[in-house]
């Protein structure tokens, strides 16, 4: 058995020095992987899993800020202390890797062939390498540039590149995280088969326990630089011994997640500030808040109000009637075609075909589909960022001002040189509610909203880059709801986040929608997230809504072939 051990990591500690502080990203980690085996390294952002992935390739930052002690040996060759000479013998030969971002991990100025031929030696060998990752018409693909391929194809090319030198160890760092759920399933199976064919050891770094279970023989769970649990995949997933692993499992969103149970109840401070806000909005607070907390406040135009709304919220009958007859968002026969010139000829891409739907007051509707289904275009049209060729969008709801969008990449959606307070104030100033408010009043409003989204005063003066990904998304949400819109448009707001953070963001959106009376349009490729947040799920493909289904029993109720495929793609 000892002969076949490819990677041995013993007591590895990696520290980063910066701004006078020393942070240990990895502490005393010991691992080993045998040939033909796949070890999953699972943890959230900052757990140190990617640092290990980088360390075993010898590509931790070379600027002297990182320092590694302990042992790494690959096929019996000791590699710590990390010297360039030692690694240059190993990297690209014995160890290669597949990275997360297939969009940018391939040099945009090179054809696939030019990249691949360098490592395979000839065009024929490159074709064979591409065929091994199940790329058809490999000869054509060799002539293409990365931007001409889909995400799934690019990631297959990455796998072919990584396996071309016939490595002993493959490091796969979140290889499918950036892909659509259904593409993810395909790429994972390609990766699995290729690895089995190549017989190499695999270090599979991921934040997703579902993916890890699907791919790995063994799993090591990491938290704060330490391995908290190691074992066979079945054991770690099936009977997690460690607290943290259990919590990580519990925060996973699957098609079986209990929708009625909000994952993690809102903190008392959040409830309190929510009540403040309800005061400001002139609504009776306690009743609404407690009704929400009790899960009784499930009201929408399609399912009808529960008794709780009429009694507890004290909204007048008149307004109730108004709610019933007036949706917050009406999308009416929207049609959109993008035209591009390809070799002098106009080519139309019919992205939205006569799409109509409505979102009721306080209702959450999810649009689910893959890349290219038209869902994001629809969101941009609803947001007024783009205009439809024909058809109309009406977002004059009963309450709230217009629409607001929160994006997948919250960091990029926040102006980097503005402080959080300035970002929120900017939104307030642009609304009718905000007209004539003093700085102090706006500051108070911003503060209340930050508390509502689970942040506090300390972030007011911070700039986006000083915040974590989860905090950035909360700030983006705070900006969107500081003056409540009638519809909150969410463009994959959770797919770039760690599972536990994703859960809390979903809960937050849910909380805001009930407490502020906001309707939600939630665009995602993840059926499980859609099911959790939405009342209804609209399945989109090819620019059309092919199915509308209630969220609760989604997995059973979906009938179309396409919808079933999406259900199957969600890893159990």
């Amino acid at each position: 058995m000892a002969e076949s051990t490819v990677l041995t990591v013993s007591d590895l500690t990696v520290t980063y020095r910066g701004r006078g502080r020393t942070v240990a990203a990895v502490k005393d980690v010991t691992l080993s992987i045998a040939a033909g085996r796949c070890l999953g390294l699972v943890g959230e952002s900052g757990s140190g899993k990617s640092t290990i992935g980088a360390a075993v390739q010898g590509i931790i930052p070379a600027d002297g800020s990182a320092h590694a002690t302990g042992g790494i040996s690959i096929a019996g060759r000791d590699l710590v202390p990390i010297t360039d000479q030692a690694w240059s013998q190993v990297r690209g030969r014995d160890v290669t890797s597949v990275f997360q971002d297939p969009m940018r991990s391939l040099d945009p100025t090179m054809t696939i062939g030019r990249m691949l031929n360098r490592y395979t030696g000839s065009a024929e060998a490159s074709v064979a390498a591409l065929e091994r990752v199940q790329i058809r018409r490999a000869g054509d693909v060799l002539k293409k540039y990365p931007h001409q391929l889909s995400g799934g194809m690019r990631q297959r090319v990455m796998i072919a590149l990584a396996l071309a030198p016939q490595p002993l160890l493959l490091v796969a760092d979140e290889p499918t995280t950036a892909l659509d759920v259904s593409v993810q399933a395909e790429v994972l199976s390609v990766l699995r088969e290729s690895i089995e064919g190549a017989g190499c050891a695999v270090l599979f770094v991921t934040h997703d326990l579902g993916v890890a279970r699907h791919m790995c023989d063994e799993i090591a769970v990491m938290k704060d630089g330490v391995v908290v649990e190691t074992g066979s995949a079945e054991q770690v997933i099936g009977e997690p011994a460690d607290d943290y692993t259990q919590r990580l499992m519990a925060s996973r969103i699957t098609l079986a997640t209990d929708r009625a149970r909000p994952v993690g109840a809102p903190e008392p401070a959040v409830v309190a500030s929510m009540q403040d806000m309800l005061d400001d909005l002139g609504r009776p607070d306690d009743a609404v808040a407690s009704a929400w907390a009790a899960g009784e406040l499930l009201w929408n135009r399609f399912t009808g109000p529960t008794a709780a709304v009429g009694a507890a919220s004290g909204l007048s009958d008149v307004r109730l009637v108004e709610h019933v007859t007036r949706p917050s968002l009406t999308v009416n026969e929207v049609d959109k075609t993008y035209t591009a010139r390809v070799r002098g000829r106009k080519v139309g891409n019919h992205v939205l075909k006569n799409v109509s739907f409505e979102i009721g007051y306080r209702e959450a509707v999810a649009l689910v589909g893959e890349s290219g289904s038209g869902k994001s275009t629809l969101l941009r049209i609803a947001a007024g960022i783009e205009t439809p060729d024909s058809g109309s969008v009406d977002s004059q709801g009963v309450a709230g001002e217009g629409t607001q969008v929160i994006f997948q990449d919250a960091g990029a959606s926040l102006t980097p040189w503005r402080t959080v307070e300035e970002l929120l104030r900017e939104r307030i100033e642009h609304t009718t509610t905000g007209k004539g408010l003093s700085r102090a009043e706006m500051r108070a409003m911003a503060l209340r909203t930050l508390e509502l989204v689970g942040l506090d005063e300390s972030v007011l003066g911070a700039r986006p880059t000083q915040l974590s990904g989860g905090q950035q998304q909360r700030v983006a949400i705070a900006r969107a709801v500081v003056v409540p819109p009638s519809v909150l448009l969410c463009d994959e707001p959770t797919s770039a986040l760690d599972v536990s953070v994703a859960c809390s963001v979903l809960n937050l959106i849910n909380l805001l929608r009930h407490s502020l009376g906001i309707s939600v349009m939630f665009v995602t490729h993840d059926l499980a997230a859609a099911r959790l947040i939405a009342d209804r799920v609209l399945v989109m493909t090819g620019g059309e809504i092919v199915e509308t289904v209630g969220a609760a029993d989604l997995a059973q109720d979906i009938t179309t072939d396409y919808g079933r495929r999406l259900v199957d793609a969600v890893l159990a």
């Binding site: 390739q57 590509i59 240059s88 990297r91 690209g92 030969r93 160890v95 290669t96 890797s97 990275f99 971002d101 940018r104 991990s105 391939l106 040099d107 945009p108 100025t109 090179m110 490592y119 540039y145 931007h147 990455m158 590149l161 990584a162 030198p165 490091v171 010139r341 070799r343 002098g344």
Partner: protein, 334 residues
């Protein structure tokens, strides 16, 4: 194929640009407060000779007719007669255009040399790098005429005429010449003549190139730095490429598209900075011709130079766009 279509489209738009440029320059000549006939015949000429000259220059015709004949002439390469020298402008241009193009070409080449070498110094932290950065930044923040005069001072006066500081050649032009002296020297198989022409080019080209070279270096250095941080550079490293290979094979090419865009803009400015540089180095090019013509209100000459510079600018930009598309496949020529 697309490249040819693109170039021909650009040449089409060149015609449109030139037409409006002609209109603009012509109008400026008409509204300017100077009488071209007086410039032509001199202040002391009699009334009869003024009239005769007016007829000779075609200035008694209605303005649209004047414009028409100007355009027709320009299309045939006839820009009329210089009001000050009384020689056909086309003859002047025939010797001065190559002079300016030669200088501009060398200045652009030096821009690239300065830009690339300085960009590589940027990434090297150290005394030499810091010193070179200081020198070049000082140089870049100085106007080009100051650089020109300083370089004359250093290389001509202090270093005892290490490099010539005036004119294009110690020997004068060949009879059957292209007007590009370095090329002429090579065509006639004369290393002495060629080397002499190159020496004459160095100082003015350097003076014109310093500013744009430093600007280019900044863009290039930034581009290389961000390329080296990019995920695909990481991929290359993970596949075992050494740092030098990552730089050569991946980073340089990706960093060169913003640098090329900048170079196109710089090329346009280059021509205008040559107006000054040519003066300092007594370079008989379009720039010194233009400044002379502006001084005496010689509008036909001004118009001709403007048209040619405009054409050069559009052509340069077209070439850069083609180069951009060649470097970065994501750029579509449209």
């Amino acid at each position: 194929m697309t490249v040819l279509v693109f170039i021909s489209k650009r040449l089409g738009s060149l015609l449109v640009v030139l037409f409006f440029l002609t209109l603009l320059v012509f109008t400026l000549g008409k509204v300017a407060d100077s009488d071209p006939v007086r410039t032509y015949v001199g202040v002391n000429a009699s009334a009869e000779s003024v009239e005769a000259a007016r007829e000779e220059l075609g200035l008694d015709n209605p303005i649209p007719v004047q414009f028409g004949s100007f355009v027709v002439g320009a299309v045939q390469g006839d820009f009329g007669i210089s009001l000050s020298s009384k020689r056909p402008i086309a003859d002047e241009l025939a010797t001065r255009l190559p002079a300016t193009l030669e200088l501009a070409g060398w200045a652009l080449a030096l821009t690239v040399v300065i830009g690339v070498s300085l960009a590589s110094l940027y990434s090297r932290p150290g005394r030499l790098g810091a010193f070179m950065r200081f020198v070049f930044f000082s140089a870049a923040s100085a106007p080009s005429f100051l650089i020109a005069m300083l370089s004359v001072l250093v290389f001509y006066k202090w270093l005892g005429g290490a490099l010539p500081a005036a004119g294009r050649s110690s020997y004068g032009p060949y009879d059957d010449a292209t007007g590009f002296y370095v090329l002429d020297g090579m065509l006639h198989g004369s290393p002495t003549y060629t080397w002499d022409a190159i020496q004459h080019l160095l100082l003015p080209a350097f003076a014109a190139a310093v500013g744009s070279g430093v600007a280019l270096a900044r863009v290039l250095a930034d581009g290389i730095a961000s390329s080296l941080r990019s995920p695909w550079a990481r991929t290359a490293r993970a596949l075992g490429e050494r740092e030098g290979t990552v730089l050569r094979r991946h980073a340089l090419r990706n960093a060169s598209s913003p640098a090329l865009s900048l170079l196109a803009v710089q090329a346009g400015f280059m021509v205008s900075s040559l107006v000054v540089v040519e003066q300092v180095f007594s370079w008989n090019g379009l720039g010194s011709y233009l400044s002379g013509a502006i001084g005496v209100g010689d509008f036909p000459a001004i118009a001709a130079v403007c048209l040619i510079l405009g054409a050069v600018y559009v052509i340069l930009n077209t070439l850069v766009d083609v180069a951009l598309a060649a470097v970065d496949p994501r750029v579509r020529l449209s």
